[in-house]
Symmetry: C2
Subunit: 312 residues, 2 copies
């Protein structure tokens, strides 16, 4: 059995911290990401949460192999730096995280993109296990992706390969994205842009959405099931966008399995059958039928994956 590892998953709304041993999260906690004020100010809180977890489990730092961070954005996993990150944690590229880790915990540090980490977790221990080639699509604050080809994580020359599926253009006449592009998957259907998408719906004013304190996909899927016209339209558009994203990932990386995960997948029963049917009828896969599966670890895949990357 491998020794335990500290794993951190930098989400847009919550930062998850776990102590992970092999395929098991021994203990975990989460703190508010509060990402508007940047990462530097969160580091003392992350430190505190790690120390509390170690206390709770009765594990000393000496027993820990290393610390791994799964982060959104473009990550140089060799130099261990965040190269570019889409507004969230905007100060992160200027922070020497490896040094922070050494000075704070005296532990070796690893960092990888969050979707790559999640795919690696699903590939080592979950739904993508034993496949030579796999793709993940994470539906959440943004839309993430990653690819494994020939049993290796695809990283590319500048660490952007595989992870920009949410920034593939699926509507070339579409709306502008945070990334500088337009008609990206995640500007057309993800949580960060959902309020704006909802407000532009022609039935918005007559929908309960107009009076909601906050709009998220849980609300959209609930209202759609109640027959609300605006929610039905947004749901229809969104699953079409995600299906187009899935097609683009499948056509780009030729996987045997597509794993779907992320917070929006709490409503998976309204998503997976649609995407599965769309891919069966629209993807060009003369070799056979691609597996479309919900992730086995919706909350912890990235923790498991980055922990494995630290330990190996």
């Amino acid at each position: 059995m491998s020794k335990p590892v500290i794993a951190i998953d930098m989400g847009g709304t919550k930062i998850k911290i776990g102590i992970v041993q092999g395929n098991t999260v021994l203990s975990s906690d989460s703190i508010d990401a509060d990402s508007g004020s940047g990462l530097r100010k969160r580091l003392p809180f992350i430190q505190k949460a790690v120390e509390d977890l170690l206390d709770r489990e009765g594990i000393s730092l000496a027993e820990i192999t290393g610390l791994g961070m799964a982060s959104p954005g473009i990550i140089d996993s060799i130099q261990k730096k965040i190269l570019s990150i889409d507004k969230k944690f905007g100060d992160a590229p200027g922070i020497h995280l490896e040094e922070w880790c050494l000075q704070t915990f005296n532990l070796p540090f690893s960092i990888e993109n969050d979707a790559r980490s999640a795919l690696w977790g699903e590939w080592k221990y979950g739904k993508a296990k034993n496949f030579d080639s796999a793709v993940i699509m994470t539906l959440g604050t943004g839309i993430g992706s990653a690819a494994i080809m020939d049993r290796q994580l695809l990283r590319g020359k500048h660490f952007t390969a595989g992870i920009l599926g949410g920034h593939s253009v699926i509507n070339y006449k579409g709306i502008h994205c945070n990334c500088g592009n337009k008609g990206c998957v995640e500007t057309e259907a993800s949580t960060w842009n959902l309020t704006s998408i909802a407000r532009s719906d022609k039935n918005f004013a007559e929908s309960p959405l107009a009076h909601a304190p906050a709009i998220d996909y849980e609300l959209i899927f609930n209202l759609a099931q109640e027959g609300d016209a605006a929610a039905l339209h947004i749901r229809e558009q969104s699953v079409q966008v995600w299906s187009a994203c899935a097609i683009n990932l499948i056509h780009a990386y030729d996987p045997e399995i597509l794993v779907l995960t992320g917070g929006i997948m709490a409503s998976s029963s309204q998503i997976v059958p649609y995407i599965r049917k769309h891919i069966e009828t629209h993807a060009w896969t003369p070799w056979g039928k691609i597996s479309i599966e919900e992730g086995e670890f919706p909350d912890t895949a990235a923790l498991l994956g980055i922990a494995h990357l630290v330990g190996n």
Copy 2:
């Protein structure tokens, strides 16, 4: 110096046949593809063209290393079979081409996708030389693509990786494609669908296009320069579609260089500056600026590439 190779490039309208030695096409010829009636009926004509070329050059079959075929469609380069091909040469998957090559010429046979072959030609001898990572986009009857990552052709688990850029969805509400998908790059802007695209333009009836015996991109670009409204609109839409395709390829494969080639690139002065500017402002490449270049061998890249794949 390597020994000469017979190289065949199966185009949608012309089949090119060349005798290639290293980076030089010693001699070449082309015959009508006549692809509506299938590949089997063209094989005797290909044989004749090969024999004529050898006669012309005074080269005997004994001096030839092998025969390579660059073909559209999904190609199993290990089993040496055409797995799936988009209507053109629809009988090709049922033809044992390696056997035909052995029986006809007693030569070893290789086959690879045409865009992969063209990229390999540009990478060995042309514009993509010395780059670790490169992508090609071929603008023609259809839209082809291929990728080199870490100095290797990307093929994928089932030989579809890299080559389906023309079937990435860039308009998820778009028109149906031959491949079964909808809103693909090549159904929105390529020669095979251009007549239909032109006819649906709102200014078509008042355009010289309405009286043209045949509509191709050369005509569109010429009329656009003369200020014809329909041609201007089609040109604008098309370069936007190809730019979106370029973004999707760049985001998918993280290349240092994008090579543009194919018949439509005869009008490159109206295409390349637009795509280059679009990528500079829309692609997410925090590492720096990607090179956007016209291919060095617009007519022979696939011949050079497949010849190299035969010889090595």
